[in-house]
Symmetry: C2
């Protein structure tokens, strides 16, 4: 079934999820919408996040998508259940895949979660983890300095190390955890620095990688794998500055992003 | 939804899958059927495997299962698609989860698969891998000496090492692979020896662990997670010798298996 997969995010963070989708599912065409003009969603009231998310979804439904990936932790926390009830295509969020992978990986049932202040205060990860296994112990921590770091392109080196090390002090002190979930789609770009700070004994789970895998599961169960074999032509849409989006996309992907278009959502 | 999950296998190998299901999904009740009397299925004609598998499935449908896990590679290869078409509950096999995890894990797209002669000659793993990503290179190898080793309880030490090392020579010579799928539910019990032989650079994928994770995905998407919080009382049924089944089950699980019953399938 050669319909595209829709991917939505409040901005550029979801590009890490798109990158993993392309790597793990090279036959699938993606249409990405990043609401870069109104980013970040984290500090916005729930009703506004729902409204903005709906606008992105409506845009993608016009494109006849076969599946929707909410590549944004805040939007997942606020809209996943609602969209699952409303849409007749499968809807995948980033929170449950990360939770599930951590449950599989952890041997001692002590799991750490880092994310933005919005995601951490929503308690979406502890809820997802305990819904599957009530005995799991969760240590969560907001790391508000990580997203600015990533968007400035400071991913490795001394400056990155210092910010990451300072932020993760409370998590390091919880020396029980054996698994750490990167509960923000920006964080995988800092993963080597995070691994260095936390030490090699800690298994790092990237929600984006795991989300791509669950998309693969659902393509199988809904029997909607693409039949195409040619490299698909992905499409990227953003609501904010074109050059900014293009620069970040080209820096994060292996090859330059071709189809980028600026769109207007809402009124 | 507090209906049980059904797990079927030609014998005892599927107990490694059951063990992972219990670990990753501690609220879910399992009903396991092992056709130990007619094990192994590998050398049997396809029609017979289909017939025997149907008998196990009918037994489980009477128990009102909410999902079926085919914890046997041969039965997955021969019956997965048929059972998915016939049953109105989700059906999960062991092959696709292992394939999907390997695709996520491999960085160089060279993946090794080991299994019984039946599974390897069915080409089910290469097909599953290439269905998702046609560029994947697959090296597969039958290891007929591994199952007898596991059933004798020889899992580590010099004897195990020697058999595993001799068997894996052709795979080691393919020094391109960075990921190895254990394509037989017995093999996870040999995984530390296999890792030792292959070296620590090779990532080992256990189909059973990955299958448990995909069961979790489908419980979420079909909204059928158990609401129970008490330890579920699992049930185990076998068609062959009781003591043999009990000994192996008790050796492989952390705690003794309580409910074991011998049943007759077919006529």
């Amino acid at each position: 079934m050669n319909r595209p997969i829709g991917v939505i995010d409040s901005g550029v963070g979801g590009l890490t999820v798109a990158r993993e989708l392309m790597r793990q599912l090279p036959k699938e065409k993606l249409i990405y919408v990043g609401d870069t003009l109104r980013c970040p969603y984290g500090p916005r009231p729930k009703e506004e996040v729902i409204q903005f998310t709906r606008e992105m979804v409506d845009f993608l439904l016009e494109k006849n998508i076969k599946m929707l990936v909410i590549a944004c932790n805040t939007a997942t926390a606020f809209t996943l259940e609602m969209l699952r009830n409303e849409l007749d295509i499968p809807v995948v969020g980033v929170i449950q895949p990360g939770a599930r992978a951590a449950i599989k990986t952890s041997q001692n049932q002590h799991i750490g979660v880092i994310g933005t202040e919005g995601t951490i205060s929503s308690q979406a990860y502890p809820q997802a983890l305990k819904h599957i296994n009530p005995s799991i112990h969760v240590n969560d921590l907001a790391c508000p300095r990580f997203v600015p770091l990533v968007e400035m392109g400071v991913l490795e080196g001394e400056d990155a190390y210092q910010v990451v090390a300072e932020s993760l002090v409370p998590m390091k002190e919880q020396n029980h955890i054996d698994t750490l979930i990167l509960g923000c789609t920006h964080y995988p770009l800092l993963s080597s620095t995070i691994q260095e700070v936390m030490g090699n004994d800690i298994k790092i789970i990237s929600s984006g990688d795991e989300t791509a895998r669950e998309v693969s599961v659902l393509l199988e169960y809904y029997d909607t794998f693409s039949n195409g074999y040619h490299p698909p032509q992905h499409e990227f849409y953003a609501t904010g500055d074109r050059a900014l989006f293009e620069n970040i996309a080209n820096a994060w992907f292996d090859s330059p992003v071709e189809h980028i278009e600026i769109i207007t959502l809402g009124t």
